[in-house]
Every structure is written in C-alpha cells, then in structure tokens.
C-alpha cells in the first residue's frame, strides 16, 4: 500500500468528521482510507496542468432573490422533531459555565 494512514491522521479525520471511533473502527478506517487513496492516486497519471477546476457544469453564478418570508410560523412542528426542547428552543448540553 502506497498510502499509509497514521494514527494521528485518523485521529484528525475523526475530529473533522465529528466521529468517535472504536479502536477496531480506527484500524479498519486506516486500511480503507489507504486503499481508497491508492486508488484515487490514479488521477496523478492525468496531466491537468492549466485545467481550471470545474465545480459546476453550467456557468451559474450567485443566484440572488429578494429576502421575503414566504412560509408561515412552523416552529411548533419543527420543535416536535427536536430530541429535546424547552421554551420554544432547542436544548443542548451546557457549554458555558
């Protein structure tokens, strides 16, 4: 395997992806990601010098619209989906002492 994924890298990816991985999952992720990157490295065979990265196939630019409220007050229905709610707000664990 050309790409060896270190423990530090997996640790870092776990932070970026907001995932808590078991030791077993970490080992598997190292293997999977290494293999996938080896495979992706095929792209290096292509000469892309001077080619503009294409994020969108059509030449669309920022699409603006007037900032008008078109929906009604759905807050009760939206909060009904919240794991925890109180006083018309979402409840999260205390973050400021």
């Amino acid at each position: 395997m050309a790409n060896t994924i270190s423990d530090e890298t997996i640790e870092y990816v776990g932070i970026l992806a907001k995932l808590k991985l078991s030791d077993e999952e970490k080992e598997q992720a190292k293997k999977d990601m290494g293999r996938m990157l080896d495979y992706i490295d095929q792209l290096n065979e292509l000469d892309t010098e001077g080619v503009e990265p294409m994020s969108h196939v059509f030449p669309v630019h920022n699409v603006f619209r007037e900032d008008e409220v078109t929906n009604g007050d759905d807050s009760a229905a939206m909060l009904a989906n919240a794991p925890e709610e109180k006083d018309n707000s979402f409840v999260v664990p205390r973050t400021v002492e």
């Binding site: 890298t9 870092y12 990816v13 776990g14 970026l16 992806a17 907001k18 995932l19 808590k20 991985l21 999952e25 992720a29 999977d32 990601m33 293999r35 996938m36 990157l37 495979y39 992706i40 095929q42 792209l43 290096n44 065979e45 292509l46 892309t48 080619v51 503009e52 990265p53 294409m54 994020s55 969108h56 196939v57 059509f58 669309v60 699409v63 619209r65 929906n71 759905d74 229905a77 939206m78 009904a80 989906n81 919240a82 794991p83 925890e84 979402f90 999260v92 664990p93 205390r94 973050t95």
Partner: protein, 493 residues
C-alpha cells in the same frame, strides 16, 4: 391480466374514462404489498391509511372535472430521501429514525398537485451511499426477479417496487447511477435528467453538485410523462435551470432515422459481462436496422471517472451530513459528556459504516494540505471528462452502453470490498460528473433469469433524443417479459 395490470399512463386514462377508480388501483397495489413485502421489503414506510383518503379525494376531483392530467389518481412510491410533510423520512438511516418533515420536496409537491397518490417511502442505501440497498439501517430489499439477488442501489426500493407491481411508478434520486443501475437490475425504465431539471429542494443532499431526482417507471412513455410533471424551475433551488422544452411526451415517436449513435469502445472492454455485452449490442443493431447511424469511438478517460467521483461525492457528503448532530431533529445518543461528545456519539451511533467511510474520506480530501492534491485534482479531472463528452456529442446525438458491468449480484457479495463495489459504477458516474441526462431501458434477460439494461446518454438538455430513441427501441423490442413474480402469490421464489 386485469384492467389494473397496466402502466401509469394507461391507468390514468382508464381512471379518467371511468373504467377503474383510483381507490381500486390503490387496493390492487396494497394487496400485492400484503403478499410480497415480507419477502421483498421495498418500503421503509407504508402510509396506506393516508393514501386511501387521498385516493378518495382525488377520485372525487377527477369525477368533478377539477383534476385532470395523465397521472391523476395513480399510486406512486417515493424514495425515502425526499421530504414528505407529515410523513416519516429516514434516508434509510438510524440518525433520522424519527424525523417527520414539516415540508415536502418540490418534486413531491408537483406530483401531489398532479393528483398522485403516495403509497409510502421506499428503501434505499443509507443516505443514498451504496449500489445494492444493503447499507439501509432498516434491512435489505430483495430483487423481485430473483430474491437471492440485490435490487441495485441506491434507489433499490423504488426499482423493486415498480418491478413487483407495488406501485405504478416511483421517484428515485441519482448521484452516481442510483436510478439507472437499479432500474437496470430490476428490469424497469429509469431516467436521470440533466442536472438542474428537477428541483432538489427537499431532497436530503448527498453530493449536491451530482444529485438529481428522476422517475423509475414501467416504460418510456410513463418516464416521459412523469418527468414532464416534476420538471420545474424552482427559485428555492439555486442550481435549478430555466427550461422551456420540458414537454417530454412530445418526443414519444418511433423514429430513429438518421439518429447518430456513438458506441464507446471503452464501455465494452474488459470487465463487462459477456451476456450483458451481447444483449446491448444486439439492441443497438435493432436501432441501426431502424435507421440509426451507429459508429464506434473512443470516449477516453473512463477509468478516471470513478476516483474523481468518489473524491467529489465524499467531499460534498462530509459537508452536507454535518447537519446531523442530534440537536434539531433525528436521533440523539445518551450518556454523553458535553456538547462535542454529544455530536460525536450521536453521529457514531446514528451513521452506518459506509456513511462513516465516505464522511471520513471526504473530510480528509478537503483538509488543509490535501485539498489541492485530491479535491482540486478531482475537479480538474471532471473538467476533462466534460470535455471528452463535449467532443463525443459534437459527432453523435447520443451514446449507448451498459448501465452496469454485470446483472444484479447476489445479496451479501458486494459490501466486503468497497472498491470492487465502486467499480460497478463505471458506466454511470461520469454522466453525473458532466451533468448529462441518461436513461436505462431493459433489453434482455441473462442465463440466471436477471434483467439486463441498456443505457442511453445524451448531451445536456437533450432528454428528447433519449426519450425518442428509447421509445423506438421499446417499440422494436416489443413487450418486455416483466418480472416473473409480479402479482403472483408471494412473489417469485
């Protein structure tokens, strides 16, 4: 054969003519579901009580003359990644196991306005990440043609439901082949329109620059009629395209004289199953005999589409799926220690292995130090792939190839080796990268009794050429055998 064994458009006509009613059509579907769902599991959510009420309402509107249109009263299944107001929408994930949207996706709204009766929500790969519908948190769907085989994915539930008669048509979504490949595996017609043709508003995003909603249907006529209803310019989707050529049913003409068809040699080489190859080439010969001009050519860059696709799709997924953190909706873990631990535990328990794998890869390729080498490299490759298609479409009206290298694999064979599974997307992903329309039409059955699909690919906004050619082929082919178990007691063993 009864009056109710027919396509969606035929059913719509019969309802309008008073030969059958919308509630009768719905009951026929529900009866099949009662016989088959235990085996097939096409649906995650069965919403039959509301469907019954809706069928009554729609029937009254049709009789009163306030509702017309080809799909009025016809029962439809919706892939479970499209929001439906008041109806559980899980994306086949644990993390949305209790999510009841407050609004409907635009495509669903268009169908409802046209008098569609929504039966329920179909199974899929979790967050549309997979090619077999085996990554669903809610269990696998079986292929109605052969229940030891997968229906394909990610819109596997939708494809299987259409094939098994558990709906008259369905909506799916296609990010890298997720409509076309399961349609091919289940012997139905599936179409991915040009990017921007159907609004993505309310579609739970996987890879936003690639995702597109489209129909899975019993034939090309249905496909065109459905697409005509759901296509719209939507200000709520900033990538929605304004088109004035969405009268797709006008292209239902059996005539391919002079249609220039390109056959990419690179789509028929190593890795393609012999029976699939022969079946598609024989379908192409039929088109040629009917007057199409067929020529082989080299598309090039084919093998680079998959690595480019996985970099781009996973990068977008890692960003899109950041919203699932257990605060506003969905699953929340217990026993966490503070806010960040809550996020992490919720996501780790809520997402399945394939979703985690893609989020991690996506986070990695976007991280500082790797962004240029992986993400921008993939976007540059995408530009080259687009150029290769532009070159091809300067010479041809459309390109014909397979939808998948094989027919449907057996259950349990695909997930062990992710890269091998990803390679199965080789004929479909480049279409998403280039934003092109594609349609798959059944063209044969292999020696295992599994259907084979032919894929037609058009230039951007050239759906009508695809519909016309696919319709012509369908006329030449004659009635497709249809799934052996459809409508029978217990489905096919």
């Amino acid at each position: 054969m009864t009056e109710l064994d027919c396509t969606a458009v035929e059913l719509g006509k019969k309802i309008k003519a008073g030969r059958v009613t919308a509630p009768e059509a719905l009951e026929a579907v529900l009866a099949r579901m009662d016989r088959q769902e235990e085996t097939l599991h096409c649906y995650v959510t069965d919403d039959r009580e509301n469907a019954r009420k809706k069928a009554e309402t729609v029937q009254a509107q049709i009789e009163a003359g306030t509702l017309s249109g080809p799909l009025a009263g016809v029962p439809v299944a919706i892939k479970d990644n499209m929001n439906t107001a008041g109806l559980l929408t899980t994306c086949a994930s644990r993390i949305l196991n209790n999510f009841v949207p407050t609004f409907s996706s635009e495509a669903v709204k268009r169908l409802e306005a046209a008098g569609a009766v929504i039966i329920g929500k179909t199974n899929m790969d979790e967050f549309a990440m997979g090619s077999t519908t085996e990554t669903s948190y809610y269990g696998v769907t079986r292929n109605p043609w052969h229940t030891d085989h997968v229906p394909g994915g990610s819109s596997g539930g939708s494809a299987a439901a259409v094939a098994a008669g558990e709906c008259y048509y369905a909506l799916g979504s296609d990010t890298g082949g997720s409509i076309r490949q399961p349609a091919s595996f289940c012997g139905v017609v599936g179409m991915k329109p040009t990017y921007g043709t159907v609004s993505r508003y309310g579609l739970i995003a996987y890879g936003s620059s690639l995702d597109q909603i489209g129909p899975l249907a019993q034939d090309v006529t249905d496909c065109a009629a459905i697409l005509e209803v759901i296509s719209t310019h939507d200000p709520k989707d900033s990538t929605s395209v304004k088109r004035d050529d969405t009268d797709f049913t006008s292209a239902l003409k059996a005539d391919v004289k002079g249609m220039r068809i390109g056959i990419p040699r690179d789509y028929f080489g190593e890795g393609l199953d012999g029976e699939v190859k022969d079946s598609i080439l024989s379908a192409v010969r039929q088109l040629e005999e009917a007057g199409a001009v067929v020529e082989e050519f080299d598309l090039s860059l084919v093998k680079y589409a998959i690595p480019a696709y996985y970099v781009i799709a996973c990068a977008e997924a890692s960003s899109n799926l950041a919203r699932f953190e257990g605060v506003k909706y969905g699953y929340r873990a217990e026993g966490f220690d503070g806010l960040h631990d809550m996020y992490k535990m919720t996501r780790s328990e809520g997402f399945g292995p394939e979703v985690k794998r893609r989020i991690m890869l996506g986070s990695f390729v976007l991280s500082s130090g790797y962004y240029d080498a992986y993400y921008l490299k993939a976007l540059r490759t995408k530009a080259l792939i687009k150029q290769a298609f532009d070159k091809a479409f300067a010479k041809y009206d459309l390109i014909v190839g397979p939808a998948s290298p094989t027919t449907a694999p057996r259950l349990g064979e695909s997930l062990a080796d992710p890269i091998q599974m990803y390679l199965g997307d080789i004929y479909t992903v480049s279409v998403n990268l280039a934003g092109l329309p594609g349609i798959t039409v059944p063209c044969g059955v292999d020696s295992k009794g599994l259907p084979i699909g032919m894929q037609l690919i058009g230039d951007c906004f050239q759906e009508k050429k695809l519909i016309r050619t696919a319709y012509t082929y369908e006329t030449l082919r004659g009635a497709f055998a249809g799934c052996p178990g459809k409508g029978k007691e217990g489905g096919q063993a």
